[in-house]
């Protein structure tokens, strides 16, 4: 069963966290994996904290329950640290991906000295620069897909071009903007 990657997303209603987890399932599905993408639901209000989950595996996934020992935690809104137990179930070997413009030390401190791998993506800046709005889900999706090693960078860009084309057919401006967000995120992650 260890071939399964379990991911937990933390965001707020209206930020596209649920959409990002469903997009990740789509990406993994297209690489031939078995996938699950599901939100933890309560009456979701714009701004209220929400949690979403993914399981990605080489074998069929039958488990239908929330994930409490994730391999990867994605924090789409850093103001959730302290408000919601984002580190629950982590033992320090896992990976945390956080949408933030702050530096590694400050973030590790705010995460009570989390010792695992910490990837920082300035999703707000990237999305504002590329699609002109603070909608960090495409940069975060890109970072998680990379962390899961689903595809090479170029394969992922190609896949996103095709999937964005399907989703926003005819709206080239949105497609170009989001594609630019993907490319910029990949570049910043490499450095």
């Amino acid at each position: 069963m260890n071939s399964t990657i379990e991911i937990r997303w933390h965001g707020r209603g209206g930020q596209g966290t649920k959409t990002a987890s469903l997009l990740l399932a789509d990406v993994a599905f297209h690489t031939g994996k078995y996938v699950q993408g599901f939100p933890e639901y309560g009456p979701e209000r714009m701004g209220a904290p929400i949690t979403a989950y993914n399981r990605i595996s080489d074998e069929p996934i039958t488990i239908h329950s929330n994930i409490d020992k994730p391999d990867i935690v994605v924090i789409v809104d850093e103001t959730l640290i302290g408000a919601v137990p984002v580190r629950a179930g982590l033992k320090g070997r896992e990976t945390i991906l956080i949408n933030s413009s702050r530096d590694v030390e400050t973030l590790r401190r705010s995460l009570n000295g989390f010792s695992g791998e910490l990837f920082i993506v300035d999703g707000r800046r990237i999305s504002e620069e590329t699609i002109g709005a603070n909608f960090p889900n495409i940069p975060m999706l890109t970072a998680v897909a990379k962390a899961c090693g689903l595809m090479t960078d170029s394969e992922f860009v190609e896949f996103m071009k095709e999937s964005l084309g399907r989703k926003f057919s005819g709206k080239t401006q949105i497609i170009e903007g989001n594609l630019q967000a993907v490319i910029q995120t990949l570049e910043e992650l490499r450095s």
Partner: protein, 310 residues
């Protein structure tokens, strides 16, 4: 009775913060204004139909209501509170309960125009001493913006989507306020949020002061469902009134009285362009829809003017 604006604002808050309505929702603004019309010395018992307001204002163990509150189901807010009012009548008669109570129950447009219409009609016809307030946000917002009979024509909702063949909701909006007036209840009125809240306050206070059944319909914009920027709440209400899409009037003991006539009546287009749910009306292939809305609004407005003996 015109208590001035500032003294009114100092009344003890009867609908607290800490509820979970979306940021910028119109409904809690309407609810605060209605509850502010309950005189300080009176105690209220509040009912609510299932919906955004209910699930957000009473999530265990947090209630945003300072007064007693009861929610039971979706289709029966009026029936539930009529039971509370009946108990009060009986227990007061037997001397087991004393002191005045105001019975107020809230419902969204879904809970009032559609699933709750039968129990609302029943409670109004039986003449229970209560005020029913519909916070009309134009669709089933709590379940994710599905069309109700209160949804404006051609509006894009998730069960009347603007599709390639059908441009949003096909039917005209049901006029619940006139249906309630036709119950010949002592008081029925239509209002919304205005800068000084004078219209809404006076209507709520008048309704609460009258014996018997009263109904007020309050347009309560929903930023999420109507797709406008939350900060523009009051501007959206103003546009609704100045385009005569949402006329403000009251029916007191059968007398129709217009509350507001815009100095210069704006075209409906100003209202429609302010919201994403009408965006498709301005795309090619849908020409003529705005015009048909304008015609309908003008016809309804003229009818109302006649009824108000203008």
């Amino acid at each position: 009775m015109n208590v001035n604006f500032k003294t009114l604002m100092e009344r003890e808050e009867r609908f607290s913060g800490g509820h979970r309505m979306c940021a910028g929702c119109g409904a809690p603004v309407a609810v605060r204004a209605i509850m502010r019309a309950v005189d300080p010395e009176d105690r209220a018992v509040v009912g609510c139909a299932t919906g955004c307001l209910e699930v957000s204002s009473f999530t265990y163990p947090y209630s945003a209501w300072t007064d007693s509150f009861i929610h039971s189901a979706f289709e029966n807010a009026a029936a539930t509170i009529s039971g509370v009012e009946a108990a009060y009548e009986s227990l007061r008669r037997q001397g087991k309960v004393s002191g005045a109570r105001k019975f107020i129950t809230f419902g969204g447009d879904g809970g009032s125009y559609d699933i709750g219409l039968q129990s609302l009609s029943g409670a109004m016809e039986r003449g229970h001493d209560m005020l029913y307030v519909c916070y009309d946000n134009g669709a089933y917002m709590n379940t994710g913006i599905q069309r109700s009979s209160g949804t404006p024509r051609y509006a894009d909702t998730t069960t009347s989507p603007a599709g390639k063949v059908i441009p949003g909701k096909k039917q005209n909006r049901k006029d619940l306020t006139q249906i309630m007036a036709a119950h010949n209840i002592p008081y029925a009125a239509q209002t919304t949020l205005t800068a000084n809240f004078k219209d809404l306050h006076e209507k709520a206070h008048r309704a609460l002061g009258m014996k018997g059944a009263a109904f007020i319909n309050v347009l309560s914009p929903c930023p999420r469902g109507w797709r406008y920027e939350a900060k523009n709440l009051m501007q959206i209400c103003k546009l609704a009134v100045d385009t005569c899409i949402w006329p403000m009037y009251e029916v007191i003991e059968g007398d129709w009285i217009l509350s507001y006539e815009p100095k210069n009546k704006l075209p409906v287009e100003d209202y429609l362009r302010s919201q994403g749910r009408f965006k498709h009306l301005f795309t090619s292939g849908n020409e003529g829809l705005v015009e048909s809305i304008q015609k309908q609004v003008d016809r309804d407005w003229d009818l109302l003017l006649k009824r108000c003996k203008y």
